[in-house]
């Protein structure tokens, strides 16, 4: 008797699913889940999967693989996902060098790629593609905003610092694009460097009135701890990456008061964001990070497109994505002509809420900001 009931229930469920939408969408998520940078990938995945779980849409299937932060592994995984798993949409890559290895060939095979983080300039300008959408930002955005903020805060002479690799150079270029004052000194450090004593000594001697630094991951933790220990008190400004929720705990009180620029913050005032922060915390027992918010928005963007169009009609599906008709944790969400967001970028300050270090919005650095490459994109 019980057997018959379950069978009927299953048939009913199948029929119900069949009547709603014809084509299931299969998503391949390639992200960093092991090794040094795993915290970022795990956050992006958890944010994405939270939205998937909340939507509970039986037509959406997700396959997740770990790229170990290695471009060759990412390429292999992408090939496997496209040829073997037959995914329709790819997403998940955190690092720009991995994105450059995977995205151009994936979009050329007519797969849609939604970026949860990495958005190198090469894919925003001449190399833009109708199948490529960046949900997060364009790489330069937060650095440009930091330059804009430093100018409006009245700083005249900035010491600027980034690792010696393409994203580091883009960062300093982005800062200078919007900073009106003088540059006291421009320093490139080794990628992965963990001791900044030599650079901090130069900062002390430079006579600058502000320090802009872009040192993602462990480099930023090391720099901020050593900066606080050094007794130098020139104010620090940076993009959100070094002041993000995942690493603030490791930096400790050394981060208090540091200004950073971000397109998301947990105190952006809209109901979607409030619900996201609350449900993320309930589900995973920690505060969401920037990367978690990008993952969450990416999944909701995809789900919104699935509600409007079928994946078998690629043109219509892309149009549905382009209209970005979903509730973003950042409030209003609009794509520019190169399919990168046009958005407000905020200035945040690191504060302590009880025992937990987190960020609070203190102003808007750039309003409705696009990027420097959109005009070069012809789609």
């Amino acid at each position: 008797m019980k057997g018959i009931k379950t069978t009927i229930a299953a048939v009913a469920a199948l029929l119900a699913a069949g009547s709603a939408h014809a084509d299931p969408v299969k998503v391949g998520m390639i992200t960093t889940l092991s090794g040094g940078g795993a915290g970022l990938g795990i956050d992006a995945r958890d944010g994405f999967m939270l939205a998937v779980k909340q939507a509970n849409n039986p037509d959406l299937q997700v396959v997740i693989e770990d790229d170990q932060r290695k471009p060759d592994v990412a390429v292999q995984l992408a090939d496997k996902m496209i040829q073997q798993e037959k995914v329709d949409v790819l997403t998940g890559i955190i690092w720009s060098n991995l994105a450059m290895a995977v995205v151009p060939s994936a979009v050329a095979q007519d797969k849609i790629y939604l970026s949860v983080n990495a958005a190198p300039s090469q894919l925003a300008g001449k190399g833009c593609n109708k199948n490529y959408f960046s949900v997060s930002y364009q790489n330069d955005n937060l650095h440009e905003a930091a330059g804009g903020y430093a100018s409006s805060a009245g700083y005249q002479k900035a010491f600027i610092l980034a690792p010696n690799y393409p994203a580091g150079k883009d960062s300093l270029a982005g800062f200078k694009r919007f900073f009106m004052g003088d540059i006291a000194e421009e320093v490139y450090t080794k990628l992965g460097q963990t001791d900044y004593a030599a650079e901090i000594a130069q900062i002390r001697a430079s006579g600058a009135d502000s320090v802009f630094f872009f040192l993602p991951g462990g480099m930023g933790i090391a720099f901020m701890k050593q900066y606080a220990q050094s007794g130098v008190d020139i104010p620090l400004i940076g993009p959100a990456f070094s002041m993000d929720q995942g690493i603030l705990g490791a930096v400790g009180d050394a981060a208090l008061g540091v200004k950073n620029t971000s397109n998301w913050s947990k105190d952006i005032d809209n109901p979607t964001n409030a619900a996201f922060v609350e449900t993320f915390q309930a589900e995973y027992g920690r505060l969401p990070s920037l990367y978690a918010s990008y993952g969450f928005d990416t999944a909701n963007l995809l789900l919104s497109a699935m509600g409007k169009a079928s994946i078998s009609d690629k043109e219509a599906f892309r149009d549905a994505l382009r209209s970005a008709d979903f509730n973003s944790v950042r409030g209003n969400f609009i794509f520019g002509p190169n399919q990168h967001p046009i958005q407000d970028i905020y200035v945040r300050e690191v504060v302590k809420e009880g025992d937990v270090l987190t960020n609070k919005i203190v102003g808007v650095a750039l309003k409705d900001h696009s990027d420097a490459y959109a005009s070069e994109c012809s789609m």
């Binding site: 795990i42 963990t194 090391a222 690493i247």
Partner: protein
């Protein structure tokens, strides 16, 4: 300018001494047992995580420091008795493969225990702040403390090797392994002790460095590479070589990062001077290594193979 220069000299000394803590263990293990241990960086990570975990749990950095040495030494003993012991008579390729596997085991094991996010470890209150040195130079007390601790460990290690019975055995082991076994020295135990000593030094370095950097999975590998550069420069197996090599690498790296961009700026425009200077600075220690190898193929204090 003078105080900036002096500050950079102190920074060089500090980074050199921390490298020495890593390199001395690596070179001892190679000198005595003829083993290439890629997992040395993992022992450094074990030290840092043990210090961070115990400091967070008890609220005392000093207990954390003790824990870092003990945890790394214990990990060293276990690894030596369970795995490394089987590798002494194998060729170097087998040793490299097996100890590389150990890196993966340690990394994923640490992630499994502590999660993927970096841990917090900070300087104890008594060592925070700065002190004013001659030349109106403000220098962090903690870095000064690391310099002093590094010097003490270096002196202690030289006394241990030069003046004690264990030291005699270690030197004898380096000279002729077969002979000291024939003379009735328990060679298995000697190997375990040497490995644990090297591991403890790496763990101590991990705890010191962890307070100024980030305690995270994979933190050991970049240091491991530098430590290998040091022992190649100093001569593999030589503690004196490790000390000289560490200081040389510390000075070359710090001063290169500081001076090269300025040197190029005297005849190039600022942005290309920065770009070329910092690119060259990051290669400088390898250039020094190549030069040393060219002039003295077995390193500064190495014995001819």
């Amino acid at each position: 300018m003078f105080s900036l220069f002096l500050e950079q000299l102190l920074n060089s000394l500090q980074s050199g001494l921390m490298l020495f803590l890593m390199a001395s263990g690596l070179t001892l293990v190679f000198g005595v047992m003829g083993l290439i241990n890629l997992a040395h960086g993992s022992l450094y990570m074990v030290g840092a995580f043990a210090c961070a975990a115990v400091a967070a749990w008890t609220g005392s950095f000093w207990l954390g420091l003790v824990a870092s040495v003990m945890a790394a030494a214990l990990a060293g003993v276990l690894v030596e008795m369970l795995i490394i012991r089987r590798l002494y008579n194998r060729d170097h390729l087998d040793q490299v493969l097996a100890t590389f596997a150990l890196i993966l085991v340690f990394s994923e094991g640490t992630r499994w225990l502590f999660g993927s996010f970096p841990l917090f470890l900070s300087v104890p209150d008594i060592l925070t702040g700065t002190v004013v040195l001659p030349g109106a130079l403000e220098y962090p007390i903690f870095r000064l403390a690391i310099i002093i601790a590094g010097l003490l460990v270096a002196v202690g290690l030289f006394l241990l090797i030069g003046k004690t019975r264990l030291g005699v055995r270690i030197r004898a082991g380096e000279a002729d392994r077969g002979m000291i076994a024939a003379l009735g020295v328990n060679i298995d135990r000697l190997y375990t002790v040497v490995f644990a000593l090297g591991a403890a030094l790496a763990g101590l370095a991990g705890a010191f460095v962890g307070t100024t950097q980030s305690v995270q999975v994979g933190m050991g590998e970049p240091v491991l590479i530098l430590a290998f550069v040091v022992i190649v420069i100093g001569g593999i197996g030589s503690i004196k070589g490790a000390l000289v090599g560490s200081l040389l690498v510390g000075f070359t790296d710090t001063m290169g990062r500081f001076l090269l961009p300025h040197a190029f700026a005297t005849f190039l425009d600022p942005s290309s001077a920065t770009a070329i200077g910092s690119a060259l600075a990051s290669m400088l220690i390898y250039i020094v290594m190549a030069l040393v190898l060219f002039l003295r193929p077995s390193g500064l204090f190495g014995t001819e193979a």
